[in-house]
Symmetry: C2
Subunit: 201 residues, 2 copies
């Protein structure tokens, strides 16, 4: 059995990343990696589902033992991805999906040369703003901040392996699945199969 | 408009490469590159369809002016792919498909760093032999030679970018199309789009 692949997915808020990933995760060959954090659980958040809630000591111990695939600090709290679970799931043959921000994605790229980075883009910033407004849940101020953040994040798309544009959801899901399929068909993962075919020839 | 991609496809005889490519070529975004040769046309062969028939002088002039993407000599005749047409079609935005043998594919890989190499494998050598026999057109001797050649070619699959196994035709075509789609979604080809989104933000 081949080791599972590691897909790192980033997207500005409002790009439909969650909807695309929920389609991908219907296939149980995939494992969604839950982030770890030292911030306190909010009401309704479940440990291991929303986040893995760690103490500051536990998190810093992971950092100092090179146990984090990526991490960052916001407002005095740590957020990140411990290597152990990602590696365990990959060894079980699962494709692991990491949904993280651009800075974290850049760290994973550095720490894990075979990670596959996918950036989901909106068709335009105007369309992104329209979608955020359509939700009707955020104030103009919050929407303006999200749009500004998107404009900061989009230039990082260059540094990813693949860019998928979510213009039409079904097409974006197909494009995303094509990237996964192609990565699984890389010759480097066919070594055992090639050897097997030759041994039985 | 982005430049078209260059796909190099190799497969042992009997792998269903022709059938897979005929499915891909239904899409007119693709251009099938016809090989050039110095051998004489056989009855029924049409210049520009079966091969581009060149004189030995024309072919050697292309070689000496670095005009060949790949070439080889068999039985005193040259076979190969001039760079010019491939480049012209790519600049028109067409994805060019080159169906060539492993030695030629290795030359293209060296001469053209953005070429995408795909190797089509049989599920097993026994299945390949079964398919060759099923055709009922070749003698045992010819079949034995083709199987032996396949066993020589299969180890080169390692050196390709992708390996697609033709166990079931429909699946193989889907896998092949996924490779094409993923390559088109490489971030390197999204540069203009990213810039455009940011300019209009």
């Amino acid at each position: 059995m081949n080791k599972g692949l590691l897909f790192v997915v980033s997207a500005p808020s409002g790009c439909g990343k969650g909807t695309i990933l929920s389609e991908i995760l219907k296939d149980d060959r995939f494992y969604y990696s839950v982030s770890s954090t030292t911030r306190s659980p909010r009401e309704g958040e479940i440990n291991g589902v929303s986040y893995n809630f760690l103490t500051k000591e536990q998190f810093e111990e992971l950092i100092s033992s090179d146990g984090m695939l990526e991490y960052a600090q916001y407002c005095d709290n740590y957020y990140g991805t411990p290597k152990e679970m990602v590696e365990k799931k990959r060894l079980e043959g699962k494709n692991v999906i990491l949904e993280i921000e651009v800075q974290g994605a850049m760290q994973v790229k550095k720490n894990c040369s075979d990670a596959v980075l996918i950036f989901i883009m909106p068709p335009s910033v105007a369309e992104l703003e329209r979608r955020l407004r359509k939700r009707g849940t955020e104030t103009d101020d919050v929407i303006a901040k999200r749009v500004a953040k998107a404009v900061e994040e989009i230039p990082f798309a260059h540094k990813y392996d693949y860019v998928v544009v979510n213009g039409e959801l079904e097409k974006a899901v197909d494009d995303f699945k094509a990237v996964i399929s192609a990565e699984e068909h890389k010759a480097v993962y066919a070594r055992d199969f090639i050897d097997e075919v030759l041994e039985n020839a």
